[in-house]
């Protein structure tokens, strides 16, 4: 069995989500990767990768030619894998359409070569599904697979030509507008620090900012904090706010009501800082600190 992983490159490096996909692909035997545009060298250094296929003329920003190329080279593979990112979710289902197979998105666990676990109903249930397709097209949830390291491998690089690109009926990329704000977006941030009513007022809520800056974190809020005017609506995390699943979620002065948990319980690591040892947030936190946030926050800022 051989798996092919579609890699995403960002600033010359392989994105973490793609490295998680490579880690997951290891379960299926030999791993080849495909790089569109730049970044083949970085890909070649990934541990566990045998071959890097490099299509320099293409870009992962365009699903139509990318899927067409993948379909061209698919026959050598049992599994074609991408990260469950906006890019992966754009390209891989299209590939599945070209191959006439049923894609298996958002895989969080691999039972065997045909059997996968994936969340349904916004993560409220986990389905174990078996695929009867000869080529499995899969996207992988990064948070559930420890990524392979960025360095350590020495794969061969082979150029792949894709001549039919001009014949593909495709959209044309006009412009890219990456958000320039210092702060990452809440839903895609690697670290989120959220504050609740325990921060007492809008002025205090700003105590989260220097810490967020140091961690490169997005800032979230509980509904009580939003309703009390400490933070704008867009920052609300929870059932009626944003759903986030960062690597690290730091909950400061929020009780962890079930409606809040609904928006962050899938975070990889949860830290809770709260005065009340009985606060429900501690029932989901990996690390808890029963302490006054007004002493903890300045300490944390200087410790980072």
């Amino acid at each position: 069995m051989t798996a092919l992983v579609l890699l995403e490159i960002e600033n010359g490096a392989v994105r973490q989500a793609s490295r998680s996909a490579v880690a997951a692909a290891g379960a299926f035997g030999t791993v080849d990767v495909l790089v569109l545009g730049h970044g083949a060298e970085a890909a070649a250094r990934l541990p566990g990768v045998t071959r890097v296929l490099h299509a320099e003329a293409l870009s992962d920003a365009l699903a139509e030619p990318a899927a067409a190329l993948l379909a061209d080279i698919a026959s050598g593979y049992t599994h074609i894998i991408g990260a469950a990112t906006a890019t992966g979710k754009n390209i891989l289902p299209r590939l599945a359409g070209l191959l006439d197979v049923q894609p298996i998105p958002d895989v969080i666990a691999i039972n065997d070569a045909d059997t996968f676990i994936r969340p349904i109903y916004a993560g409220n249930a986990l389905a174990t599904v078996r695929s009867s397709d000869s080529i499995k097209v899969i996207t992988i949830r990064g948070a559930n697979f420890d990524p392979v390291a960025s360095e350590g491998g020495a794969a061969t690089v082979e150029a792949v030509a894709f001549n039919a690109a001009s014949q593909v009926n495709a959209a044309e990329l006009l412009s890219v507008n990456l958000s320039t704000s210092e702060r990452p977006e809440l839903e895609s941030a690697r670290v989120v620090i959220s504050g609740g009513k325990g921060l007492k007022d809008a002025e205090n809520f700003k105590l989260l900012e220097p810490i967020a800056d140091k961690l490169g974190a997005a800032i979230g809020a509980s509904r009580a904090a939003v309703d009390s005017g400490f933070a704008p609506n867009e920052m609300q995390v929870g059932q009626t706010g944003k759903i986030v699943a960062p690597e690290l979620y730091i909950a400061v002065g929020l009780s962890g009501a079930i409606q809040h948990l609904a928006g962050m319980k899938d975070s990889r690591v949860i830290v809770a800082i709260n005065l009340d040892p009985e606060a429900p947030i501690f029932r989901v936190a990996d690390y808890g600190l029963v302490a006054d946030l007004f002493t903890v926050l300045p300490e944390l800022e200087s410790a980072l």
């Binding site: 249930a125 599904v129 949860i270 600190l289």
Partner: protein, 249 residues
Amino acid sequence: MKVLVPIKRVVDYNVKVRVSADGSGVDTQGVKMSMNPFDEIAVEEGIRLRESGAAKEVVVVTIGAQAAQDVLRTAMAMGADRAILVKTDETLEPRAVANALKAIIERENPGIVSMGKQAIDDDMNATGQILAAKLGWPQATFASKVTINGERAEVTREIDGGSATYGVPLPAIITADLRLNEPRYASLPNIMKARKKPLETLELSSLNVDTASRLTTISVAEPAERQAGVMLNSVAELVEKLKTEAKVI
């Protein structure tokens, strides 16, 4: 130009789904069903295109049981002109749905297929892309803005870390993201009027397409509850743990 909007009837957004006791699936017996929220956005976009003069007609289609005509009526109450119910009692995978939609599209010849990026029950986020591939059409997934210039659409898509704008030759598939628009309410007078709009019903089998399943659900389980971790005594300890144990900072 015609806009075709495929819509799906799903367990309502507000319902807390429960995994059935025997682990065979999710209990949907008698629970409230509604139009997939992303599809409401897709319907709204279709109506706006018609209102702006870019499109002439908005047709909604669903593949589902007889009861799925509710959501077609809702879409018509929002402003869609007519509806097609492709009737089946089976639950279809996106591949099968795409095959059925392709047959409808070949009959209706829409200039734009506006659909939801994802259905909130199975969260596949796949039907639009598969359909685009099968038709050989361009796709603009996760759209947050759509404008039409003659034979082309200009679509802003949500990508990781920002957005990107594409020129999309028509016909094309556009899948709606949350920020595309805020769907209107179906007002009571419009709901009343929608009862009189045309709704065509046809059997899925009459389309003669492959709707076989490629996935078998072996079991459905509730996610394991998160366990409480450890209580720490100081900020220094916390930072240490995050660095060395959790390796997240």
